[in-house]
């Protein structure tokens, strides 16, 4: 089905922590982008907002949909199709958004499109921006995902590599916890690292065997832990533990850790570009907001004669605009779903 010019898609996202709804015209122009954690639901709707995502989503999903429609000044008759995240994520959370989206598609008699959350992150650089030039290599790195793709088009993506243990963003969170820098760890490490020496500590860069494009960030987390607390079973002539680190030393550890992660990510992007001959590098996911990664990717793109595309910061984290935007391309490719569309918790990504 070809969406008419100016077609508006309503996107719904609830794969993990965030309930979100967005309206996007022609697959790029964001008319509304409502994210539950950014709306003061507590005061507007009353009641306690529970922590666990699926129950919270039930209470928030109608509110974010109403908020998106209200803020764009758009009515149901203006919605051409409904796009929804159906994988991967927490099953109970996914089902909330999926059920809401199916209901809307049914009562509005609009086409339904199922979208993979991680693929959508790779398309986020197009939001409120120019069309993306393909072929591209996309790195999606967040708290839950670290994946590298070859993209022939928005709808034709091949997984080149993924994490075999911790996600990059998870490593940031856990190291921030070890260094007691606060949560979320990504911005906390980024801030601390700005005044630190990235060469102070030589943390391991785990590149895995051969020319693998997979990732592993579990080892560096342990290396930071051992650097701070000492290697178990080893006797030290000076006391270990975070309380014996000066603020400058902590900033140095943060900067050195960040540099090691960025080096690994940049190395894999370089290999992927060399393997595929892509002319564009796409970044997506919360880690794409990291200033050191952006700088390294910028330098790499220059060296490889590629164009780097990063999403605006608000589209790095989970949102529904990327779902509606990628959904538009699926619609054009005729990849619509019916009301039997199922949620899948775990997929290769």
């Amino acid at each position: 089905m070809t969406p008419r010019d100016g077609a508006i898609l309503l996107g719904v996202e609830s794969s993990c922590d965030e309930a979100a709804c967005a309206l996007v015209r022609d697959g790029r122009e964001v008319l509304a982008n409502a994210v539950a954690s950014q709306i003061d639901l507590h005061t507007r709707y009353g009641g306690v907002v529970p922590e666990i995502a699926s129950r919270a989503h039930v209470e928030q999903i109608n509110a974010v949909i109403a908020e998106a429609l209200r803020s764009a000044g758009v009515g149901p008759e203006d919605i051409f199709a409904v796009a929804v995240t159906h994988q991967p994520g927490l099953i109970g959370s996914l089902l909330v958004g999926l059920t809401a989206a199916k209901t809307l598609a049914w009562i509005w008699d609009a086409p339904l499109v199922g979208v993979n959350h991680v693929y959508a992150h790779a398309y986020a650089p197009a939001l409120d921006g120019e069309p993306i030039d393909y072929p591209a290599v996309a790195l999606v790195a967040s708290g839950g995902h670290t994946a590298l793709y070859r993209c022939k088009s928005p709808t034709d993506m091949t997984l080149l590599g993924t994490t075999i243990d911790d996600a990059a963003g998870e490593a940031f969170d856990k190291v921030a916890s070890i260094l007691q820098l606060g949560y979320p760890g990504g911005p906390a490490i980024d801030r601390a690292a700005k005044d630190g020496d990235p060469k102070a500590v030589n943390f391991p860069r785990t590149l895995l065997k051969g020319r693998s494009l997979d990732f592993s960030f579990s080892g560096i987390k342990t290396a930071v832990l051992y650097h701070v607390n000492g290697v178990p079973g080893v006797k030290y002539d000076h006391p270990r533990g975070l309380e014996h680190f000066s603020r400058r030393e902590i900033r140095d550890v943060a900067a050195s850790f960040q540099q090691a992660v960025v080096d690994v990510l940049a190395t894999k992007i370089r290999r992927a570009v060399e393997n595929t001959g892509a002319g564009t590098i796409l970044l997506g996911g919360g880690v794409a907001a990291n200033s050191a990664l952006r700088a390294a990717a910028e330098a790499l793109a220059k060296k490889l004669n590629c164009t780097l595309r990063c999403p605006p910061l608000k589209y790095c984290t989970d949102n529904a605009a990327m779902i509606a935007a990628l959904g538009w391309h699926y619609l054009r490719a005729g990849r619509t779903a019916d009301l039997h569309l199922a949620a899948t918790a775990t997929v290769r990504r």
Binding site: C16, E51, I52, A53, S54, R55, P88, G89, L90, I91, G92, S142, G143, G144, H145, T162, T163, I164, D165, D166, A167, G169, E170, D173, K174, S177, I178, S218, K221, T222, L225, Y226, V231, P232, G233, V234, A345, T346, V347, R348
Partner: protein, 144 residues
């Protein structure tokens, strides 16, 4: 009864997971207890392979809370991580622990944080760091 296993490398921890998979049946809950860097995810990767799951699906569930890997017997291995939950004991039930136990085997990382929300009978595997790469695994049968 208490059983102790020692491993000297992540590869041995992985192999221990593979071996232990043979002991697990539908409805079993394996509670993992061990600090950051103990090797919990490496162990679960071995466990998943031992159950015939697609190893490519296995990664840390810290962020997504639960991963589900189909086993060769048509069941599922549910890989839960409660590290990120703010009220883990209340929230574990909301994740659907009972339904998961009916559908397969459940392994929980950071299980010491959900002690009171675990099933009546479960296996507890605590991991102690003995040295840079050596780990000591203590397996016990727990029942209320």
């Amino acid at each position: 009864m208490e059983q102790i296993f020692k491993t000297q490398s992540p590869a041995e921890t992985h192999a221990l997971g593979r071996k232990m998979a043979g002991e697990l049946r539908r409805g079993d809950c394996l509670a993992l207890v061990g600090c950051l860097g103990a090797g919990k995810t490496v162990f679960v990767r071995g466990l998943a392979e031992g159950l015939g799951c697609d190893a490519g699906l296995v990664s840390s569930p810290t962020y997504v809370l639960v991963q589900e890997y189909p086993t060769r017997d048509g069941l599922s291995l549910f890989h839960i991580d409660v590290y990120r939950l703010s009220e883990p004991e209340a929230e574990l039930a909301d994740l659907g622990l009972e339904e998961m136990l009916e559908a397969g085997v459940v392994v929980i990382e950071w299980a010491d944080r959900v002690q009171r929300a675990l099933p009546r009978a479960y296996l507890r595997l605590s991991i102690d760091i003995d040295g840079e790469a050596s780990r000591r695994f203590t397996l016990t049968n727990e029942s209320a």
